[in-house]
C-alpha cells in the first residue's frame, strides 16, 4: 500500500480547490464525521496495511500486469502499456476499494454493508468482500441497469447479497446512489456505506482515491523496470465517478510532465441531449453530498444522463476530477457509444482482450489525441467485458 503522501490534498473541509465538501443532511453527520475522524488513522495502522496488502495479493491477485500491447503500439506509433485491472478477482478495479473499505467498516465496528452499483462491478466487488468477511450486504441498483447487466446481478445474488432495484428518476447509477444514501440515513448506527467511486461527501473521494492508488503505485515500478523511468507521457482512463482514473493518476498528480486524460461517455453525442459528458455539459453544483461539476437545468434539477455503458451513465464526476479538469491538469475527451463499441471490437481483435464497455471508452480516446511518436502511454484497462456480452452480441453483425 502506498506510503507516499497525497500529492493533491483535500483540505480539512474536504475540498480540492473549490470542489468537494460534505453537503449532507444532519442525519448523516455523525456517520460521516466518524469516518472522517478515523479513516486515515485506521489506514495507517500496520495491521490494517498488512491485511489489506495480503488480501490484494492473495485474494485479488495483485500486482496486476503492465502489458506492452505491441500490435496496438505499432498501429498508433507509440508505446502503449495496458494496466490490467481486468485481471483482478471479480474483473475490475472496483475490488481495490471494497477490500479497503470493508476493513475500515470492521475497524469501526459496523455489522451491515450497503452499496450502490451501476455496471454491477462495484456491487459484485462489494458482495464479494461481504461474503469474505461474513457481513450482510444490500446493493442498490437502478432498474435499467439490472436489465442491462444481468450477469452481475446473478453474481451478486450468488454471493449472498440482496439486490434492491432503484425505481426513481432515470433508474440508473444516480438513483441507486440516492437510495443507498436514504438507506444509510435510516440505518445510521450499524451500517457502513461502501461508495464505489471517488464521489460523495468528504472523506469518501479521498479515501477511495487512496485505496485505488495501488494502480499507479504499481505502474511506477513496473514502468521503471521496462523503460527505465516510472513516468509515462500519458495516462488514459475512463471516468464515470472517476475511481479508476483517480487510482491510475494518483502518483502522477504532481508530475505535470505526465498528461492525464479523462475519458467521458458522450452517449449519442455531446449535443444529442442523450449524453453523460459531464465536464462539457456540466456546471458547478451539488450532487450526492459533494460540490462538483454536474449536469443540471438552470433551476438546479439534476439532468438524467445517458450512456450505453452503465458504469459511465452518471451526471456528475468526483470533485478531484472537477478540480483537475478546471485547473487544466487533466484533459477531458468525450467518446460516443459507437466509438466505444468500435474500440471494444478493435481491442478484442488486436490484442485478444475483451474490455468492459466503460473501459472501451478509454481506448477510443487514442483516435482523438495527438501524441509524439514513441510516447509512453498507459491505458488503465479498468475491467473485462464478460458482463457486457449481451450488449456486444447485439453489435456482432456490425463487425
Amino acid at each position: 500500500m502506498t506510503t507516499l503522501s497525497f500529492p493533491i490534498t483535500v483540505d480539512e473541509q474536504g475540498y480540492y480547490g473549490e470542489f468537494g465538501g460534505a453537503f449532507i443532511p444532519e442525519m448523516l453527520y455523525p456517520n460521516v464525521r466518524e469516518l472522517k475522524e478515523n479513516y486515515l488513522q485506521i489506514m495507517a495502522q500496520p495491521a490494517f496495511q498488512d491485511t489489506f496488502n495480503k488480501l490484494l495479493k492473495d485474494f485479488v491477485g495483485r500486482p496486476t500486469p503492465l502489458y506492452l500491447a505491441e500490435r496496438l503500439s505499432a498501429q498508433y506509433k507509440a508505446q502503449i502499456f495496458l494496466k490490467r485491472e481486468d485481471l483482478n478477482h471479480t474483473g475490475a478495479h472496483k475490488i481495490n476499494n471494497t477490500i479497503g473499505q470493508i476493513l475500515v467498516a470492521k475497524a469501526l465496528g459496523k455489522t451491515r454493508i450497503i452499496a450502490e452499483t451501476g455496471a454491477g462491478q462495484h456491487g459484485v466487488a462489494t458482495a464479494t468482500v461481504c461474503a469474505l468477511m461474513d457481513m450482510p450486504c444490500v446493493i442498490y441498483m437502478g432498474e435499467v441497469d439490472i436489465a442491462r447487466q444481468a450477469p452481475n446481478v446473478a453474481r451478486m445474488r450468488m454471493l449472498g447479497a440482496e439486490v434492491r432495484p432503484a425505481t426513481s428518476g432515470s433508474k440508473t447509477l444516480k438513483d441507486a446512489t440516492n437510495e443507498a444514501i436514504r438507506d444509510w440515513i435510516n440505518n445510521p448506527t450499524d451500517t457502513h456505506y461502501i461508495i464505489g467511486s471517488v464521489v460523495g461527501p468528504h472523506p469518501y473521494p479521498d479515501m477511495v482515491a487512496r485505496f485505488q492508488s495501488v494502480i499507479s503505485e504499481e505502474t511506477c515500478w513496473q514502468l521503471q523496470e521496462v523503460t527505465g523511468s516510472p513516468d509515462p507521457d500519458l495516462v488514459i482512463a475512463c471516468v464515470g465517478g472517476g475511481s479508476n482514473a483517480a487510482g491510475s493518476y494518483y502518483h502522477y498528480l504532481d508530475k505535470p510532465q505526465v498528461r492525464l486524460i479523462a475519458v467521458e461517455a458522450a452517449g449519442h453525442g455531446v449535443d444529442s441531449g442523450e449524453s453523460a459528458a459531464t465536464s462539457v455539459l456540466g456546471s458547478k453544483g451539488i450532487i450526492h453530498g459533494s460540490r462538483t461539476l454536474l449536469m443540471q437545468t438552470p433551476d438546479g434539477q439534476i439532468i438524467e444522463p445517458y450512456s450505453i455503458s452503465a458504469g459511465l451513465d452518471y451526471p456528475g464526476i468526483g470533485p478531484l476530477h472537477a478540480h483537475l479538469i478546471q485547473t487544466g491538469r487533466a484533459e477531458a475527451v468525450s467518446i460516443t457509444d459507437q466509438e466505444a463499441m468500435d474500440a471494444a471490437f478493435h481491442l478484442s481483435r488486436t490484442e485478444g482482450i475483451i474490455p468492459a464497455l466503460e473501459t472501451a471508452h478509454a481506448f477510443a480516446a487514442l483516435d482523438k489525441l495527438t501524441f509524439n511518436p514513441d510516447d509512453v502511454i498507459v491505458i488503465n484497462l479498468s475491467g473485462r467485458g464478460d458482463k457486457d456480452l449481451a450488449t456486444y452480441i447485439e453489435f456482432l453483425d456490425q463487425f
Partner: protein, 259 residues
C-alpha cells in the same frame, strides 16, 4: 418582525406546521393550499421546492416532487405564487429544498427574493452548518430570514448546542433516524430522545417532524416540543383531490389533526 419569530413569541404549544410540495397536485394549487391551511388555523406552512434528487425525503414526498416537476413547477413561478398569496395571507411561510437549488438561483439573489415575496425562513437539509456559518449567516441576519437546522437522535450534545446557536426561528427535530414519511407509532426510544432534548433547555423552540401522521402523534410530540410538522400524511390527502375540493378537504383534515 419576522413572522416566525412573532409566532413563537406569541405561542409556545401545539404549533402545527404543515408541509406540502409546491406544484402538487396541480401546478397552480400552491396558493390555494397555503390559503386553505391558513384559514384552517395552521400555524406555519412549509412549502417544498420540488427537487429531482431529494436525498432526505421518502417515497411520498419524492413522488409529489416528480409530479410537481412534470407539472412544470419552477422556482420563478413559485416565487410569483407566493407573492400573490402573500397579499391576503399572514401565516409564516418556510421554504424547504436542497442547497443546489439555492446555489443555481444565486445564493444572495435567492435570499433577497425570499424577503421580497414574503418567505420567512428556509430549511435546507443538505446545507452544512459549517458552510452556513462561514458564508451565509450574515445575509440571513441582514435580511432577517429564519433558518432551521435539523437535529436527529444521533446528534451529539455539543453539535446540538452549536445548532441551537445558529438556528433562527425554530429547530427541526427529526423524530426518528429516517427519511421523511416513515410510518409506525412513536416508540419508547423516541420518547427518551424527545425528553433528552427537552432537558437541554435550548434557546430556540423545537418542532418535531418526520413520521408524524395523525392527531395522536401530533399530540404526543406537542407534549415534548412547541409542536409538530406533518408532511407525507398531508400529501397523501392531497393526492387525488380535484382543485375545487382542496379547501374543504384541507379544513376537515386540519380539524382532525387538532382533535
Amino acid at each position: 418582525m419576522n413572522r416566525i419569530t412573532r409566532l413563537f413569541a406569541e405561542k409556545q404549544t401545539n404549533i402545527l406546521n404543515v408541509y406540502f410540495t409546491a406544484g402538487y397536485p396541480y401546478l397552480n394549487s400552491t396558493g390555494t393550499i397555503i390559503a386553505a391551511l391558513d384559514k384552517a388555523g395552521v400555524d406555519l406552512v412549509e412549502v417544498g421546492m420540488p427537487y429531482s434528487d431529494p436525498l432526505a425525503d421518502g417515497p411520498t414526498i419524492q413522488e409529489s416532487g416528480q409530479v410537481a416537476l412534470k407539472n412544470g413547477m419552477q422556482l420563478s413561478l413559485l416565487f410569483d405564487q407566493i407573492a400573490e398569496v402573500r397579499k391576503t395571507v399572514e401565516v409564516p411561510l418556510v421554504l424547504m429544498g436542497y442547497f443546489n437549488q439555492v446555489m443555481q438561483f444565486g445564493e444572495r439573489k435567492f435570499l433577497e427574493k425570499c424577503k421580497e415575496v414574503g418567505v420567512d425562513g428556509l430549511i435546507l437539509p443538505d446545507l452544512p452548518i459549517y458552510e452556513y456559518e462561514h458564508f451565509y449567516k450574515d445575509w440571513f441576519e441582514d435580511l432577517d430570514l429564519g433558518i432551521s437546522f435539523l437535529i436527529s437522535p444521533q446528534s451529539g450534545t455539543e453539535r446540538i448546542r452549536k445548532i441551537d446557536e445558529l438556528t433562527r426561528g425554530f429547530i427541526y427535530m427529526v423524530a426518528d433516524a429516517a427519511v421523511t414519511g416513515a410510518t409506525g407509532g412513536i416508540t419508547e426510544i423516541q420518547l427518551a430522545y424527545f425528553q433528552r432534548i427537552r432537558g437541554m433547555d435550548l434557546k430556540q423552540p423545537r418542532l418535531i417532524g418526520f413520521g408524524i401522521t395523525d392527531s395522536a402523534a401530533f399530540q404526543t410530540v406537542s407534549a415534548y416540543a412547541s409542536g409538530g410538522i406533518i408532511g407525507s400524511a398531508f400529501i397523501r390527502l392531497l393526492g387525488g383531490l380535484s382543485e375545487a375540493a382542496l379547501p374543504e378537504a384541507i379544513d376537515h383534515w386540519v380539524k382532525s389533526i387538532r382533535g
